[in-house]
């Protein structure tokens, strides 16, 4: 067989080479719209990524800033402190400690340290001291507090930290803090002192976890997801029945919180979540859809009867979350020609069963938490944004042949933004460990479908339950 063009080839080539034809006018409009959409998408992607970057930088700077200030404040407190031991009598009646004489030149600084300490605790007695202003005495539990607060600031300060502690144990009136010599001085604690110290330690264990620090959490949530959706009129006239049914699912993830102060903390992490929608198509008596009854559906079971677009070996169906492109004809489904219906597409897909569209998300949150009630059972308000990355996109039909993956939804954006609000109940199990139950609502702020005819925004309600570890 010869490889060169034969005569017929030549004639075909000559005639067809120069052949040109004006394409239909709407084609340019389509191209233009697509190009404009691409530009918009590019811009949106740029915006969302720079927003995420800015937030991360902000979170980092905030963390760094609060960390720095925490380190700077504490050393000053210890260095300025040269206090004579408190009067024994006062300590016993610790509700109303009486003023104690101090070096006058140190007075200001000591008051300042008093104020700082007072911030860290809610002990009434200390506030009283502060109100009086004349008092510069540092009582037992204040010292303890200073010690623990300082302990968070770094190991190199430990020597200094021990100074106030020493002062407490000393019963001799003229003992100064700067000359600590024996660590076994604690043996000299009186029983009531020891009790008070223990109580303060317990109290402070609670207080320290309110101050700045990191918290690592692991949680899971059973949830219910549904959506809000709007569709273009043409799209909707060929669409599956829109049942406002959600689906139950499980999500979960790891979270990292940074406490910037007593009440505010910033949270990020990584979560996995599923969103989607389910529908069974009921007979649409008045809609512009295929009207043929699918009489074989078992009584009480859903079925559908939805217009499909058949073109070039492909089959597509308009559904609530977007156009589903079929990979193949699902088992137990039939294609019927729409002989009398007014829908745009010439064919309908008929099958019993239910359709579901499921999207898997990896969500990266940036939340702000505010501590409202600070008890053994804390109550927090949570709010913030998530970058939601679509990592899975599947459509299923569940009929008598089981659950079949039929394909996926077209035009789904990979990066989306959602907002979250929630209320957290946090119960401390120990010094570092706590368990939390947190109902949250997560709502997508953009349509996760790029198709201009479809506005589909999933939301999810979940009760996040998890363990948190502080360090």
């Amino acid at each position: 067989m010869k490889e060169e063009l034969d005569n017929m080839d030549k004639i075909f080539r000559e005639k067809l080479e120069g052949f040109s034809e004006e394409p239909p006018v709407f084609l340019w409009d389509n191209i233009q719209a697509t190009l404009a959409g691409q530009r918009r998408k590019k811009r949106m992607a740029w915006y969302s990524w720079s927003a995420v970057a800015a937030l991360l930088v902000f979170a980092f700077l905030a963390g760094w800033y609060f960390n720095e200030t925490a380190e700077k404040v504490t050393p000053r407190v210890t260095e300025s402190e040269t206090v004579k031991p408190a009067d024994k009598q006062n300590i016993i009646e610790r509700d109303i400690p009486a003023p104690v004489t101090t070096d006058i030149e140190k007075q200001n600084e000591t008051i300042e340290s008093d104020r700082l300490l007072a911030d860290a605790t809610k002990k009434r007695s200390i506030q009283k001291i502060q109100e009086e202003k004349t008092s510069t005495s540092v009582t037992d539990f204040e010292d303890k507090e200073t010690r623990i607060e300082i302990a968070t600031a770094g190991l190199n300060l430990m020597e200094k930290i021990e100074k106030p502690e020493f002062k407490v144990t000393a019963q001799e009136p003229s003992f100064t803090l700067t000359k600590k010599d024996e660590p076994d001085a604690s043996a000299e604690f009186l029983t009531w002192e020891q009790k008070m110290i223990d109580e303060n330690t317990r109290e402070l264990a609670r207080i320290t976890h309110e101050n700045s620090g990191w918290k690592l959490g692991l949680n899971v949530s059973p949830g219910y997801s549904s959506y809000t959706a709007k569709h273009g009129a043409t799209y909707a006239s060929n669409m599956t029945y829109e049942a406002n049914e959600g689906s139950a699912n499980l999500s979960g993830g790891i979270s990292v919180q940074y406490k910037t102060g007593k009440r505010i903390s910033i949270e990020s992490g990584i979560y996995y979540a599923q969103n989607g929608q389910e529908t069974g198509s009921s007979p649409q008596l008045f809609a512009l859809r295929a009207e043929m009854d699918y009489a074989f559906a078992p009584a009480g079971k859903n079925y559908f009867n939805t217009a499909v677009n058949l073109a070039g070996n492909r089959m597509a169906m308009n559904s609530t979350a977007g156009i589903i492109e079929f990979e193949e004809l699902p088992r137990g489904a039939e294609i019927a020609a729409n002989l009398e219906s007014a829908g745009t597409y010439a064919n309908s897909l008929l099958t019993s069963g239910e359709l579901s569209q499921v999207f898997d998300f990896v969500e990266i949150p940036l939340y702000l938490r505010y501590l409202v009630i600070d008890r053994k059972m804390d109550v927090e308000l949570v709010g913030g944004v998530n970058a939601g990355l679509v990592v899975g996109n599947n459509a299923y039909i569940n009929n008598e042949f089981g659950v079949q993956n039929i394909g996926k939804t077209l035009d789904i954006s990979t990066v989306n933004v959602s907002g979250t609000v929630g209320v957290g109940l946090n119960y401390a199990l120990g010094k570092n460990l706590s368990v939390a139950v947190e109902p949250r609502l997560n709502y997508y702020m953009n349509s996760i479908n790029r198709n201009s005819e479809v506005d589909f925004r999933p939301y999810r309600v979940g009760v996040y339950t998890g363990l948190y570890y502080e360090f």
Binding site: M1, E3, L5, D6, N7, M8, D9, I11, F12, R13, K15, L16, E17, G18, F19, S20, E21, E22, P23, P24, L27, W28, N30, I31, Q32, T34, L35, Q38, R39, A311, G312, N313, R314
Partner: protein, 186 residues
Amino acid sequence: LEELKNIINECASGNARAQEKLYRMFAPKMFGVCLRYAKDRTEAEDNLQDGFIKVFSNIKNFRHEGSFEGWMRRIMVNVSLSKFRKQHVLYPVEDMGQYDSLQISDDILAKIAAEDLLGLVQQLPPRYRMVFNLFVMEGLNHQEISETMEISVGTSKSNLARARDILKRKVLDLYGEVESNANFLA
């Protein structure tokens, strides 16, 4: 030509007016290309649209080496081919059939309008249509076709022969014995 270069550069920087100009300039010709590779107008329109979107998003990579029209045409052919690949599972079946070449007089072919020839090409089974187009219109050899379409050289040759055979039969059926058919009916 200098003007075309300007338009291309404007398109590269995203000027919508230049894009429209370029489209008006080349769309009819490229539609002709797409029509040959498609089974019908709708598919050709789809491919033309996708092709132009590809052209505009890649135009900044065009280096002004070689003909712009050729570059564009390659994009259209590639879009058509990739659509073909998506739609038709390519069974790795060896088609080594030999087909007798029918003889057909050039006079008959020469009388047929381009539109009708196009129609005949469009009616070819998809794989034959692709091979015929790539060989006859794009001037690819069988080696190149076998690589593009992931088929063997033998299959490509055989597909081409089959395409020619079908075309010839159709031409004979439709135009070959018009007179005698007319007599029959009369």
